[in-house]
């Protein structure tokens, strides 16, 4: 099993005027292909910051980050979209679907951002919509879907393009327990059967059992980890 993400001494300091907040102290972590990892910790512990940096939408203050062997700290800002396009997909707490586009069109647009268009895109989108159980909801606008269904659309958008790394921030945060668990089970099942590397930041202890490995964060550091 090969390494998807490796970080060494990764740190992030937010500066707001004179105030400095150390959001990440010194993170050393290696995440494997096919692994579904939970990132637990109280609010403010740095989970979102870590996901943003791993997903190359935020740059670390210091330290190194390798994504499938590409050292990102030496890349320039304009090379990062390419890294994201090739390796990374996101799932957010707030779903972040275009309200004007149907469920299916949201998936198609996500694929387009990954450079997948035409009949390849339509086939993938149709297939994945069926896999997340929304074959009969493809033409629905997000506002006509339940929260759980919307998040399943977001899962479909994230998984459709075969990105090897899936980063999810509080994906169950806006869902009730049973819906949240269903979405997580779906994500887990689809991702691990396809050897993706999935990292889920959450503070929902009730889904702890769904992870291969759990990392516990506090004050910007990983305190301990547990293998499932």
């Amino acid at each position: 099993m090969s390494q998807a993400i490796v970080t060494t001494a990764l740190s992030k300091v937010y500066r707001e005027g004179k105030i400095e907040v150390t959001a990440l102290a010194s993170i050393d972590v290696a995440l494997m292909e096919g692994e579904v990892v939970g990132l637990f910790g109280p609010s403010g512990s740095g989970k979102t910051t870590l996901l943003s940096i791993l997903g190359c939408i935020l740059r670390p203050t210091s330290g190194s980050l390798g994504i499938y062997g590409h050292e990102t700290s030496i890349l320039s800002e304009k090379d990062l979209p390419d890294i994201r396009r090739r390796f990374i997909s996101f799932i957010f707490q707030g779903f972040n679907l275009f309200p004007a586009l149907t469920a299916y069109e949201n998936v198609i647009l996500g694929l387009k951002m990954k450079g997948i268009t035409g009949s390849d895109a339509t086939q993938r989108a149709t297939r994945i919509m069926a896999e997340v159980g929304l074959a009969d909801r493809m033409k629905f606008l997000p506002r006509d879907l339940s929260g759980g269904q919307r998040q399943r659309v977001a899962v479909a958008r994230a998984l459709a393009a075969d990105s090897p790394i899936i980063l999810a921030d509080e994906p169950t945060g806006n869902l009730d327990h049973s819906n949240g668990r269903k979405v997580m089970e779906l994500l887990r099942e689809m991702a691990s059967s396809q050897q993706r590397c999935v990292i889920v930041a959450t503070h929902d202890n009730r889904i702890e059992d769904l992870f291969d490995r759990v990392l516990y964060m506090e004050d910007g550091s990983i305190l301990r980890e547990k293998r499932g």
Binding site: T48, L51, S52, G55, I57, L58, K78, P81, D82, R84, R85, R86, I88, S89, F90, F92, Q93, G94, N96, L97, F98, P99, A100, L101, E105, L109, G110, M113, K114, G115, R157, A161, D169, E170, G173, N174
Partner: protein, 375 residues
């Protein structure tokens, strides 16, 4: 990306409709102001442009067609004596007063020309004929003058500069920038009517050159030979007249100002709504970036919105403009709608909408990733 832009616009129908109305309003105003301005410009030189002749001799420092000073008639003889001049005609343009039927007076622009050749006379007759002007106190009025002078029929009499003239024809399409009614008479009658001129004066000499001769050379020679006058090509004198009315009277400036203001208002409306829409979708745009979209991928969505607004707004404005041309004509105004004007306005509309989108583009560049993660 165009499709996504269209869907975003269609999703928020009310806002899109208001934006579209804003664009239609701004662009319609630009069409209207530009069209009327160009109409005024064409009107201001309409007689010059319809008079067959290569060269116009005018008094020294003459600025326009309507207010030129008289000069002695022998200039005409000197002009026609030039070996490369084929023919020449005298033309009087002067100011007079016409008495209204119910009393009161109106100013009229009297144009005295040679009815035998028609040079400087009307080119489109509704009734009567220019040759009827010969040998007597006869006049032709333009159809457009009836707004000011009341209904006039062929055969009626009107008092002009204390002479009783019989109307022998109605012309069409002759107007002046001054909006004063235009009255055509024979050259001889105009000379008698306009007493301030002197009986051996003319206001213009319009000349044709021989085939193969060079206008520039003939003009250079005439300028040297003739004293106390200016010599222009017809095109130059036409342009000089237009420039006078556009620039020296400030009319052009005020039209330009309205056009600029319309442009800015349109830009503001479009900019405002595209900005709001962009801000509302900032999370989704940020998500696209997180999935690997480059800034320019997202710019394309935003600029597409601008282009859709521009094209729809333009088409509606054009339809409205074209269908109101007749309305303006009925009101005695000329609004120019023509290929190059339409292209110019299309360019302005695109510039307006794309310029407006730039504010939003700057926001995309600096999306804060934190925004994506908020529930």
């Amino acid at each position: 990306m165009f499709y996504v832009a269209l869907r975003i616009l269609l999703y928020d129908k009310i806002r899109s409709l208001i934006t579209l109305l804003g664009v239609v309003f701004a662009v319609g105003l630009i069409f209207n102001q530009l069209g009327i301005f160009l109409g005024l410009m064409e009107t201001s030189s309409v007689i010059i442009d319809h008079t067959p002749g290569d060269i116009w001799v005018t008094s020294k420092n003459s600025k326009n067609f309507d207010f030129s000073q008289p000069f002695p008639e022998y200039i005409y003889n000197q002009t026609i004596a030039d070996p490369e001049i084929l023919s020449a005609e005298k033309l009087i343009v002067a100011w007079g007063i016409i008495r209204q039927k119910e009393g009161g007076t109106e100013q009229v622009e009297v144009v005295g020309f040679n009815p035998d050749t028609g040079v400087g006379g009307p080119w489109d007759m509704l009734a009567g004929d220019t040759r009827y002007l010969k040998n007597g106190n006869f006049a032709i009025v333009d159809e457009s003058a009836m707004k000011r002078l009341g209904k006039i029929q062929v055969g009626e009499y009107r008092d002009v500069l204390f002479h009783r003239l019989q109307i022998v024809g109605i012309s069409r399409g002759v107007k002046s920038f001054t909006t004063a009614p235009i009255l055509f008479t024979s050259f001889e009658l105009a000379q008698r009517l306009v007493t301030y001129m002197g009986s051996d004066s003319t206001v213009f000499v319009v000349a044709k050159i021989k085939p193969g001769a060079s206008v520039d050379q003939v003009i250079a020679r005439l300028q040297q030979r003739l004293k106390g006058v200016d010599v222009f090509t017809a095109a130059d004198f036409s342009m000089k007249t237009r420039k006078y009315w556009a620039i020296e009277t400030g009319v052009g400036f005020s039209f330009m100002l309205t056009i600029v203001i319309s442009f800015l208002v349109g830009m503001l409306i479009v900019g405002q709504t595209i900005y709001n829409s962009t801000m509302e979708h900032i999370k989704e745009f940020g998500t696209l970036k997180a999935l690997g979209a480059s800034n320019s991928d997202i710019y394309r969505i935003i600029f597409s919105q601008a282009i859709i607004n521009a094209m729809l707004g333009y088409i509606f404005s054009l339809i409205i403009t074209v269908s109101t041309v007749k309305l303006y004509e009925a009101g005695g105004m000329v609004m120019v709608v023509r290929g190059w004007v339409n292209f110019l306005v299309l360019g302005l509309t695109l510039l307006m909408c794309l310029g407006a989108a730039f504010v939003s583009v700057r926001r995309i560049k600096s999306i804060d990733p934190a925004i994506l993660f908020r529930g």
